[in-house]
């Protein structure tokens, strides 16, 4: 058999395993494009967790009570932990964390564009936890069944923690809505600013999504962008109404026939504008990460040097 035929057979076997819902593991054969596609998606996901530490982290030192401060610290710490699981999952595909961070810094690898918006008031911490983490959960629950084993298993752990995050965010909004007029206005303002970016988190409509068809076939993605977005809208609208918040969409309406909410058109120009660098915080988010990484270089070097010294001492003893 010539080489082309071998790889064709391998691809067929691979697809058959995927179709049979078998998990693909790090040492299994996989098409190069599957590997690259996964690295792209997992690292983008990891970067999002890590960059996401910033808009929330900047309220840790200003949280309004000691209890809120402790909860927010634990939450942001979880996000860092999620980043860690995900980098580890990506590393099983033969790429190092250092390379992935480098790609983040050069702009070759993206993170969720929503983190390019600022967190201006305390209510934004509520809105991020409630909406952004809800959107993340909807997406990640579907990824618990993704075809790549290490990614699927990371998702199971992450989803458990995200639902705690979602509840803490919603609890902040609920507390604000039970509070003074200025608190209710603060909550509404935060919803107004975070609603549409949250809808954009699910990515382009199914017809226009560059990676979707192949990702669905390989079961890297399990549900379409529009399908996930609809589920998010259906949940969030009811949660907003329950505490007296108004979703900023005049076209929002329950559709009895579909059994879903109809909602207005997403401003994709705004999405493109922000993702291509024109958001309020793009430069700061990357500069902050790069700065911390660069400032930490001497620490990482010291660790490596110390370890080498210890190893050589151990050798001398032996």
């Amino acid at each position: 058999m010539d080489k082309a035929n071998v790889s064709e057979t391998e691809e067929r076997t691979f697809q058959a395993r995927i179709d049979a819902e078998e998990k693909i593991e790090p040492k299994d054969w996989m098409p190069e494009k599957y590997r690259r596609n996964l690295i792209r998606q997992i690292s983008q996901h990891a970067h999002s967790e890590v960059i996401g530490e910033q808009p929330e982290g900047n309220w840790i030192t200003r949280a309004p009570s000691l209890e809120r401060k402790a909860i927010l610290m634990a939450k942001v710490q979880d996000e860092a932990g999620h980043g860690l699981y995900l980098y580890a999952a990506a590393e099983t595909l033969g790429v190092t964390r250092e390379e992935l961070i480098d790609r983040l810094h050069t702009g070759a690898s993206k993170y969720a564009s929503i983190f390019n918006y600022p967190s201006l008031t305390w209510a934004d911490i509520g809105a991020i936890g409630w909406l952004v983490d809800s959107a993340a959960i909807v997406n990640q629950v579907s990824l618990q069944n993704t075809s790549y084993g290490p990614y699927a298993r990371a998702m199971v752990r992450i989803c458990k923690e995200e639902s705690f995050h979602q509840r803490q965010g919603y609890n902040i909004m609920m507390t604000l809505m039970k509070g003074a007029k200025l608190q209710r206005e603060m909550a509404q303002d935060a919803l107004d600013r975070w609603w549409w970016p949250s809808l954009m988190m699910f990515g382009p409509h199914d017809g226009e999504s560059a990676h979707s068809a192949q990702s669905m076939k390989w079961k890297i993605k399990r549900r379409s962008n529009d399908d996930l977005r609809q589920q998010f809208v259906d949940q969030a609208v009811q949660q907003a109404e329950a505490i007296g918040l108004v979703v900023p969409d005049p076209d929002l309406k329950w559709n009895d026939a579909r059994g879903h909410y109809d909602f207005g058109a997403i401003d994709w120009q705004e999405f493109e504008r922000v993702i291509s660098g024109n958001g309020p915080c793009n430069r700061q988010r990357l500069a902050h990460h790069k700065n911390a990484h660069d400032e930490g270089a001497w620490v990482r070097e010291a660790m490596a040097a110390h370890e080498a010294k210890q190893r050589s001492k151990a050798r001398d003893v032996a």
Binding site: Q54, G57, T61, S65, M73, V76, Q77, I172, A302
Partner: protein, 252 residues
């Protein structure tokens, strides 16, 4: 805002130490040298914030009325805070943060051990909980001292510089004053002056292994227990208390 009850005042000191230390550590979130350290530093920060809450809750309980843990954290000004100056110094570079932590942890472990034997049952209970955390904190900061002290030339220099800058503030941990003397005599407070020798032995041993020198200075900067702070504490409180100052009297 400073209570008359000596035990409440003592609990506030300890709460202030923990809050201000935890706040400084929490400033590292998303800024650590690598992701694992983001997580580890926030773990330690969370321990300190948790400890602050326990001390403040106890002080609030003794003071009574509408006082809560948040009253102490958010409604007092610089002059009312009685934390050690060591805790409030700006976080500096990673070497400064680690050296501060090490010098404090080497004190905090024998301190919390002794506090768990306090004749005041509530303070003893907080001490027993904290001692487990402090044991882990010291193990961690000691490890880092060895790595950074005996790592590269740069890390060694940064560490030595940080130690030299921090050393002046360590005497305050062992200082005595009338409030403390009274509570020590009653078996309530930890006899901190008596901890100095053991602390110096722990610190000297680790520094020697880490190829670092014990700073040679007699300078002692004190004042925190009397509310005489560095300029930095005011800015820290401005940030910490922003919400409660901007929107007083609301629930969040």
């Amino acid at each position: 805002m400073t209570p008359d009850d000596p035990i409440a005042r003592y609990a506030l000191r300890l709460g202030d130490d923990a809050l201000i230390m935890g706040h400084r550590l929490s400033e590292w979130m998303s800024r650590a040298p690598f992701l694992e350290e983001d997580i580890a530093l926030s773990n330690v920060a969370l321990d300190f914030i948790g400890r602050a809450r326990l001390f403040y809750q106890y002080a609030a309980q003794r003071v009574g009325g509408d006082t809560t843990e948040d009253t102490f954290a958010y409604s007092r000004d610089v002059r009312d805070f009685t934390n050690l100056l060591l805790c409030e110094l700006p976080r500096g570079d990673f070497a400064f943060t680690i050296c501060r932590q090490f010098l404090y942890d080497a004190f905090a472990l024998p301190f919390t051990e002794a506090l768990s034997g306090s004749s005041d049952p509530q303070l003893a209970a907080i001490g027993s909980k904290a001692v487990k955390e402090s044991r882990y904190h010291l193990r961690r900061s000691k490890d880092w001292m060895l790595r950074l002290g005996d790592g590269t030339e740069e890390s060694h220099q940064r560490c030595q510089r940080a130690l030299d800058d921090l050393w002046l503030y360590t005497a305050e941990m062992f200082q005595s004053d009338p409030l403390l003397d009274d509570l020590i005599a009653r078996g309530i407070a930890v006899d901190t002056p008596a901890l100095h020798e053991a602390w110096l032995a722990t610190v000297s041993e680790t520094l020697a292994t880490a190829t670092l020198s014990v700073p040679d200075t007699d300078v002692e900067v004190v004042g925190g227990r009397d509310g005489i702070h560095t300029d930095d504490l005011g800015f820290l409180l401005a940030e910490l208390q922003f919400m409660q100052r901007a929107y007083p009297g609301l629930q969040w």
